[in-house]
Every structure is written in structure tokens, then in C-alpha cells.
Symmetry: D3
Subunit: 245 residues, 6 copies
């Protein structure tokens, strides 16, 4: 965190970009949220379905799953349309599996009943941190969909962790731990880590990767500390947007 | 056009929905336009590429192509993600072929030079008329991308028809010809027609389909007349948005 | 229609190629027709199936669908085999959707009962106009299949429009409207239009496309007039072949 | 060959169906042959291509390859269209590999020069024995294509085995060896064998399969003897059709 | 079999490589066998499944099927992973169809009951003859799986041919018939033949292919004679491994 | 780590299963290693290729990539063959991306020269921890392949981290942190974490996932401590196997 390695964005190491969570932005979906982290925009929608995957059928338990996509020109250079290529990339599958696991960990599967909620996270514009924006906004969309079921009297209460779940990226940039990397930082970072946690600091998922040389345990600790603060801030924004605070 | 068959929207037969064309809405694309026809939102981006398809290579001529997609929950009921299904539907391919043909007909392939422009049209929210919104907005995105090349001195002028190209749907609803159908009208129409034309009434493409019984030539004529007026209005909006009026 | 722009084939503008419709040409199919338009040969078969698509199941209504294919060397230069490529092209899907829509518009879905008829249209040799030959011959194959059900006492009468449905292409060639383009004309035409109509002139589907510059409404009108005459002639041939005249 | 097990067709054990080989039946192909074995019709076309597969490039040698397909309603019950399913079945791949190997074994790869000939064999109507009809007709189509190159002065002579190559099926039906099985026999046979040989009895390929219990070496010998006679007859017909006799 | 054409391996024409059949090598499978023919290793497992293919459902009969694969670096040069390519090659499908047919011919479908056994044959290391090793080892795996059902009292006895089924390759190398070709011989052979037979010499399947010029019936006879001896030897090894001798 | 929650295997919390690394086990590969962690067997091979991916071409730098697969019956219940399904699952892609990233982080891309090494990791038998066994064995296979280049004089020394890279899984089982989970533990764990590190404790990759409820940072710390010890042990075994200690 030396003054000699300022971030391209001019932000302090622990300073996040402007975050805006806009619930109910989609006309047709049961729940939705447009998550904006700086210049990254991810549209998250929640669809409630009666049918569940075969492996939970008859269990009385529900299932939350996620799909992720990027608009072809959400990126600096155009990315090939996966529908035209005929298959989703490994990166896409990896990210949507992460989103799904994270939101399932936030959900009380027995309390939600034998139904499925499908979270679609589509990146309208990318500037780093799309997967963490997707999880943070996806939680809001899921909460709105469950709230609708509560309003209809289908569920007694929202079957989600009261502590909420959000996600943020951290990295090592210029030798220092920084939070919420934008594309310019992300593409030059020495390490990249994504933290999915609850508002009270419990871990849902951690993925940390050396981008160049292996890095020391201390650096990991610094990123973890930044993430804890950042997640608490994101959860506060979720609560404000949802009126659950 | 009998008073006994009012449109669900309350609009007059020849009355379009509110149309908004917002150019330069995408941070990364060479050209872009968010086309809004009522509650239908289509994000159109233009990407300039150096490489051209094999069949024009070495000809000194350029190529314009288009891709079309819908966000899974842009629709009333969720539509399966084509990337996950592993193939684009026939409807998608048919629409993107239409968009591509329409914009190529608007372009001077020799004047644009041996490069390709790829137009991505992604439906963020659907309420009928997505393909006509895509063509109308795609023309604006293409114009903005070409204008960028003019500003850079790469092209002497924008290699597009000065009369501009726009598209609108018409239909037979309750026995009368109406323009710019929304989803409620579209799903109950007796016929459905899409017109792609220039501002001065020349035909680029017409697709008219009986949804139930075959319909008379007179009804086709009435739809055609509505379309001519509507296209002129859309071209005026394109010119206003582009400052080309 | 100036004498200065004669057609490559030497035909008059409104003169069709020799058309032959040969019903019952396929040993195994419930209905069939070999449709020959000049050097274009399309083999159309109708298969009756008990199961219907999910969206009509339980409705008491039937469904007509179509598939289209070209033998690899039906064309001047060999076309890649779609089965080997692993996907049907957009052109193929677009054509088979058109055939299916056209024949459904000709069918009384309630009267045919909850069954499906699948029309396969396979191009044995191509010389322009394969989709219009497929619709014209597909109607005959469908009629023969329904007639078989009538003979078996399953249906009281053939659930098809008594006016019959046929299709023909028109185009602008050398500035004049001409009918039933062969490959040489088709590849040099200024506009290309396909008309699907009943024998009494009602419209099932119109698709008109500028191949180069946009074209005037008058030219469209001339093509439409030629099509009306041509369709009437084709329907007469269908009736002769079917013995329904 | 007991009188107590007559063939459904009433043919003698060694009696083939009517065989007709019609060369030059396809307008566009460099070589073609419609091969008819009774009610089985296979259209074989030969396409000459300049580019060769990577593994022979620069060798000065050519390559012959084959593709096989069935029209969906060539069969008693409709077969799914492979292009729509998105992949060729194992049976199709197995058959087209057999056709390709057989015709390559008949060709002088060095003498044909560094070009590829692609043989398309499409079954218009199936009644057993489609792969043997394809090989027998494919040889004729290949010969016609090479003859065209000889006529153009590109090749000094046809680079094919002077003994010609043909194929026939044999089987065990009702305990006796029989030749050229139709569908009714084929589906009830105890063993099925396909023989690809030259007119003078040299072996190109043999595939023999027990359909129920394993069978004795003697039965194989009887089938082999029938095949030798049948192949000689087919080669005579090839020579008559080609004028090479 | 002239002394002037010794085999690369130094083996006599009728001499097989060292063959080892190791049953019960896989911890999880109901039956298994590692089949080793010299440096060729094929792992064969048998999985018993309750559900059967649609075409035998309700018949009271069972079904045996097979799948085949090669590890990417089982071969001299790396072979592309089929899972990554997205489709199995024609060679793979052809081989697994052969394995399946061979083992079905060895099975009493009625006696095995309405269940399916799936034989997976995966090549860990390839040095020629992988398909014959797969059939020989697959029979052992299948026998072990059935034996397990006998031990559980589900079946009264193993529903397989008491004569056992095994497979071996023969070829023409240096003009002479030889048995059990390794890769060095296989890639230079004039003909290649695979024989699947019972221990008492009945034929299950024969596939013989000319690799260069067509070959004489006498050469086929010599290969067949070698195969008979080799199969008898392999069946003896199967019986020793299974304790069924 | 309470005595009241013993592991199913009876191992102490920090006790790994028997680990065996067998280099040079594959006849054809440039480098190989059979990695055995208890009943988990993963065959790792390294293939050296001259061509590199497009994005490093001309950079003078090399690339290491990995592919992962499971034999269908390596698992308790049979897993569908990915080659037959036509696509790799998200889990497979996620794992092979992890292996590739981990081994690239261990490699000096500039020192290895512009070539590619492809690591194939195929699970012969699975009992938990296949991805960590794959990384640990993959490093050995990669080292052997590079050593071969050193022996040939192509490279001056092995371009890998002298500290070596290995991987191990940890988890929370019965409330306590444990190392190297087998399948029985893995399927009942409260959290699952995979650590990829160097012998001297630097981090290459960490992936930690809550399997049920979110877990505390302390528990993560306990798993991390176990991993450090385990990795040191694995690296010692790598050095013993490679003779690099």
C-alpha cells in the first residue's frame, strides 16, 4: 500500500467504486436487480419455476441455479457470441457455477419449498468484477422473487440468510492489496481473489489465484481483510435497496 | 379500422408507441444505439473488424452482418438461453439474417472499404416488434460507427443511403390494419407484416404472414400504407438522433 | 418488360417453366409428390405421426410441420452436407419455417384431429425456386396423406383449404418484373420475392427482398400481379394432379 | 437352400433383384449414377475438388472419400433427419467409411493426381442393401468423373482398377445362404454379410455378422460363393453402363 | 510365411503376443477386466443398469451395449480428446458398435432379464489390436458382472454362451498371413482382418479389409485358419481367468 | 478436531492417505506420472507440441495447458462418457482450467521456449481428491517432459519453480478441519477447500467453498495450516520421485 504504486483509478487500496443496486428493473421477471460497480453493469433476474431438477424431486426441498452471459460488445474488444459458437466457454460455466453455489449457500432449501429459482446474470457492460457484481445483484433479485412469494402468501418469510450474501474482488496490484479491481487493474494484477461472504464475515466461497508468481500468505491475509470491510459495505447497500435493514 | 375493435393499448390504428433512439449508449463499441419502442428495449452495437468473410476478400468491398439475441428473461415467460442450449433457434437465425440483409441494402459496400461491421442486437426487454426496433436502432449504430471512421479520416463520408433505413411492424387486429403492435396485439393478430423501407418509401424488405386464415390483398395494401407513414416518422427520429437531418 | 432485357431462358416475363407435379412417387410415405419446376426437382413426403408437440397436446388440434434439405450435389457447386457439419444453416431453417407456416395456414387444425403431419422437402436438383416448389408440392403430399385418412374413415373429409395453396417466386430482372426465376436469373436479379397464396388470390405469405438497391412500390405491384396469375395456374395443376378439380 | 424355406420375394437363393445403373443422372455433378437394386434407389454423385486432406497434401497423391445419407422418408418408418439431430449416427459413419475405403482400394491414388473426389451416396428409397448399391453405383459415378478428366486431357486414363469394384449382400435366411436381401429378408436373417470385390474375385472388404447365434464356417463359405457370382454379374452391368466392357 | 519376410516383432506368423486378462481390477464396477495384449492395455468395465433402451422395454429381454475410448496419449502421437472435440469419431463409433454386437451375440437376452449391461472399454495404452483386446476383455467383464448377479441369486446362471467369445486380428504382412498385429505391423500390412468367434469356431463377426490392393480368397483363408487357433487360445485364457474352464 | 468426530477412514485430521507418484509409467508420452492418493488413481501425461496458441505466437514464450477426464466407471456410479454426450461438463472445464493455471504458475514461460506442453489428467479410479492428485502428478509429468528436453540439449535446465508445486484438499468434517478427504468424507463435509502451493508455502491457488452453511474465518485458517504441512510432504515425494531432492 505504498504511495509509490497508486491505482490507475486513483482510488485508495480499500476504496470501492461507486456501487448502485437497482431492484425491480425488469418488467417481466419475478425479481430483478441491475447491479452497477463503476462502469460494470450486470442485469440480474430471478425466475420462479415449478419444476425442479431430478435430484431434488420429491425431497420437499428447492433449488437455486444461475446462468451467466456477456453481451458480445460488453467488452473492450468484441467477444464471440456463445449462442453462435454453440457452446458456453469454460470461463462462463465456471462463473455461473460459482454464482449458483453462492446463492444456494444463502438459501434455506427446505423453507423455499420444492420449486426452482433461476438467476440470470447478463453483463451489459464490463469493466472488471462482473462475477462479484452478479452475486451481489443476484442476491437482491432472489430476495425480491422470494418477497413476491411472501406477499402472495405462498411462503411465510423470505428463506434467505438474514446476514445477506455479497461478493467482492481483491487483488495484488503494484505489490499492494487493493479492492474492487476495474479492468485496467485486473489485467495487470499479480494476484486475483474473489470473496463471497455474509455481512457478518462468514465465508461462502473464496477463490484466489496467482496471476504471475506464487504469492505469500501475508498478502492473502491483507486481501481477506479488505474484503471483509467491502462485503459489510455491500450488504448495507443490499439492505438499503431491499428495505431489509 | 372500425371503432368496434379498439386496440388493447388504446392507440389509434396508425399511432406508434413512444420511440426513443439513444445513440452512443455503450462505452466500448465503435457505434451504438439503444432503441426503445414502448416497452421494447433493444441494445444495438456496431463493431468494426479488419477481417472480412472469405467471399468478399480481395474484392475491395466491405460487409455488414448482424447477430440477434434475447436476454432469457426479456420475455413474459423465461426463454431458454441459446448459449446453454448450444444452438440458436430458427427464429433467431431468421431475424438476424433479416437485420443483416436490411443493413447491407442500406450500405455502399464499395465505399466502406474492405472491412466488416458486425451489428449486435440484444433484446433487453421484449414487448413486440423487437426485429423492427433492431433494424431501426442498428442503422443508427452503424451510422455512428461509420461516422467515427469519417472523423478519423479513414472514410471521406458515411457510406450509407442518405434516405436512411428503418423498419416497422403492421398487423391485422380485430379486422383492421394497425401499426407497431405490442405483445398483446401481436399474439392475437390475424396477420403480421414487417416493412423495411427508406425514408422516401423505397422497399428494402417486406415479410407478411397470415397468422390464421389467408388475408386479402386490400388488407395488405392498408398495412403497407400505414408502414409508409410510420417509416417516415422513424427516419425523422433517426435523423434527429444522428444530427443528420 | 422492355424487349431490350430478355430473360436468359428466353421466357416471357409472365411465363413459368414447365411444372410437373407427380403424386404418390414415394413407396413408404403416407403422402408424396415430386415437384418439378423446370430443372428444379423437390421430393415432398408427408408422414403422419400420433404424437404432437407439447404446446398442442390435449388441445384436440393437430399440427403440420416441415423440414427442408438439399442433397449436397443438387447445386452447381457442392454444398456441404448439413448432417456432417452438425447443424442446419440459417437459410435451411428459414425455408423450412416458411414451408411449415404456409401449410399450417392451409390446414384446419381442429378438423385434422390431434395428430402431426411432417412434410419433408428434399431438393434432388436445384435450379432456382426450390422453396416455392417445396410449398406447392408439399401441399399435394399433405393432401394425399389426408386423403388416405379419409379413405380409412379416420377423417370425414380432407381438412385443407378448398382453394388450395401454392407458391411462386417473382423478381426484378433487367428492370422488369418476371416470374419463376431459374438460377441464372435469380443470381442476377435486383429483387426477389416469394408469394404463397390461395387459388382465389388470398395471401398466406409474402417475402420480398431488395438484392441490390431498394426498389419502388410499383415494381412490387408488378411482381404481385404476376404472382396472382402464376398461383392460379399452379393451383390448377395441383387440382389436376389430385383429381380435386 | 431347401425348398421348405422359400424367400419372401420368391427369388432363388442366388437370384439378385433387378439391378439398374443409370449414369449421368445428375445435372450438376462431374459424375453420377442412380443405382437401383429392386426397390432400393441410391443416388451417387462424384465431385472433383482441388484441395486434398492435410495428410496427403504435397504427396502428389489423390484421395477419394464418401458421404452417405438417407432421406427421412426413404424408410418404412420415418428416420429422423440427421441434419436436424445435429449429428450423423454411428451407422451412417460406419457405412460412409466403408464406401470410402472400398472406392479408394479401387483407385490408383498416384495416377489420379493431387485432387480429391467426394462421392455422395443418398438413399432416395430403401428396401435393403443400400450400402452395397452405394458402392456399386459410387464406382460408376467415380468412373464417370475420372472419364471427364480424361476427356479434358487432364488425365491420360481412368485411374481405376480395370477389374471394377462392386458390392453385394448375402445372408442366412431360413437356414440357407441367399443373395441380395431385401428389407423383409434382411430383418429376419440369421446372418448378414457384405462383400466388396473385383470382377475377377479379389477381396476389397468383407463384413459378416451373426444376427442371432454364431454361425458355422460352412455357411460363410456358401455366402462367399454366392457373392462371387453376384459381383461378376454386377461388374458386367457396370461395364455395360460405362461402355467399358 | 516365407523366411524372407520376418515380422518386426520376431514372432512366428501364428504366434500371439503375451496375453494377460486380469479380472476384477476396478474397485467400483460390477465386473471388470484389464486386457493386455503385449503393449496394448484396455480397461473393460461392466455396469448393470435397471433401465433398458426403449426398443426392448416391456419385452422381458435385456440389452448389452458398449462404449469405447482412447486416452489422448495412449497413442504414439497424441490423439485429440473426443470429449473436447465434442463428438466421437467414426472410428470410435464403428468400434463400439462392433464390441456391442459381438457381446450381444454372446448373450442370452431372455435369460439375462430386462436390464442393461454397459461395457466401457478404455484404451490406456495402444500398440495395435485395441478392438480385439476390448472384445476379449469385455467378455470377461461381462461374465464377472453376470456372476455377481448369480451370486446374489438374481439370476440362476450366467446367461452367456458356454463356448465364450473372443477376438483376434490377423493381417497380410510381407505377403504372409500373420496373427495379432502390433502397431508396427498393422501400419504396414497389406490387409487387416478382425475375427470374433467362439471357442468352438463359430463365427460372430468377420471384418476384412484390403489396405492396399485387393487380395485373393486364399489369403483370406490363411488368416481365417490362424484366427481359429488364436481364438481357441484366447478362450482358454478367459476360462482360466474366470475359473470357468 | 475433537475425538468425538473420528474420520470414516480412521485417519488423524492431518494425516494424508498413502501417496504414490510413479513417473514414466506411459510408454508413448514425453513425460508421465501415475499419481495415487489412496484409492484415487490419476494418470498424468505430458505431450510436447511445436505449435502454440495464437495469443502467444511470436512472443518467444511457451504455454502449458491441461485437459481432465474421468473414465466412465472410475466413479461409484457410472458417469456418462463426455465424448458420447458431446460436451465436457462445467465441472470438467473448471478442473482442467485449475490444473492449467496451477502448472503455468509453476513454469517459466520465457525459459521453456515457444512450444506448448499439454498435460492430460485422466482419472482411472476416483475416491475423492482427483483434482489435487492431478496437479501433484501433473507437475511430475511436466518435469519429466522438460527433463527430456534438457537431456536432448534443447533446454539448458528445467524451466519450473525449484520449489515445486503440489496440491491437496482440506475440508471441515464433523466440525473439524481434516486433510486429503476421501469420497466418504468429501460427500459429507461442511466445507471443501483445495490448496495449490509451493514447497515453501507460497500460494498458487486457493478455492474454498461452503458446502452447507457459511463457515468462520478460523476454520479456514485451520484448513490452511493443514494444507501447508501436507504440501510440504507432497513436494518431498515429488522430489524423491524425480530425483530432484
Amino acid at each position: 500500500m505504498a504511495p509509490s504504486s497508486p491505482r490507475p483509478s486513483g482510488r485508495a487500496p480499500g476504496e470501492m467504486r461507486e456501487v448502485v443496486l437497482e431492484p425491480d428493473c425488469a418488467k417481466h421477471a419475478e425479481g430483478s436487480c441491475l447491479a452497477r460497480f463503476g462502469e460494470t453493469y450486470v442485469l440480474c433476474t430471478a425466475t420462479i419455476e415449478d419444476s425442479v431438477p431430478r435430484f431434488v424431486k420429491g425431497s420437499g426441498r428447492g433449488w437455486v441455479t444461475a446462468e451467466y452471459g456477456m453481451l458480445p460488445r460488453s467488452t473492450h474488444r468484441r467477444t464471440d457470441r456463445e449462442a453462435a459458437r454453440g457452446r458456453q466457454t469454460g470461463r462462463t460455466l465456471e462463473i455461473q457455477r460459482l454464482i449458483g453455489r453462492s446463492l444456494r449457500a444463502a438459501t434455506d432449501a427446505a423453507a423455499m419449498g420444492e420449486r426452482q429459482v433461476r438467476i440470470d446474470c447478463d453483463v451489459l457492460q464490463a469493466d472488471g468484477g462482473t462475477r462479484t457484481a452478479a452475486i451481489t445483484g443476484g442476491f437482491v433479485a432472489l430476495h425480491r422473487a422470494f418477497s413476491g412469494l411472501v406477499e402472495l402468501g405462498v411462503l411465510p418469510e423470505v428463506p434467505l440468510l438474514p446476514g445477506h450474501v455479497a461478493a467482492v474482488s481483491c487483488g495484488l496490484y503494484g505489490g499492494a492489496a487493493v479492492i474492487d479491481l476495474d479492468y485496467a487493474e485486473d489485467s495487470a494484477a499479480q494476484a486475483d481473489a474473489n470473496f463471497v461472504m455474509t455481512g457478518d464475515g462468514a465465508i461462502v466461497e473464496i477463490q484466489a489465484t496467482a496471476e504471475q508468481a506464487p504469492f505469500a500468505a501475508e498478502a492473502f491475509g491483507e486481501m481477506f481483510a479488505l474484503a471483509q470491510t467491502g462485503i459489510a459495505d455491500l450488504v448495507a447497500r443490499q439492505k438499503a435497496a431491499l428495505g431489509t435493514g
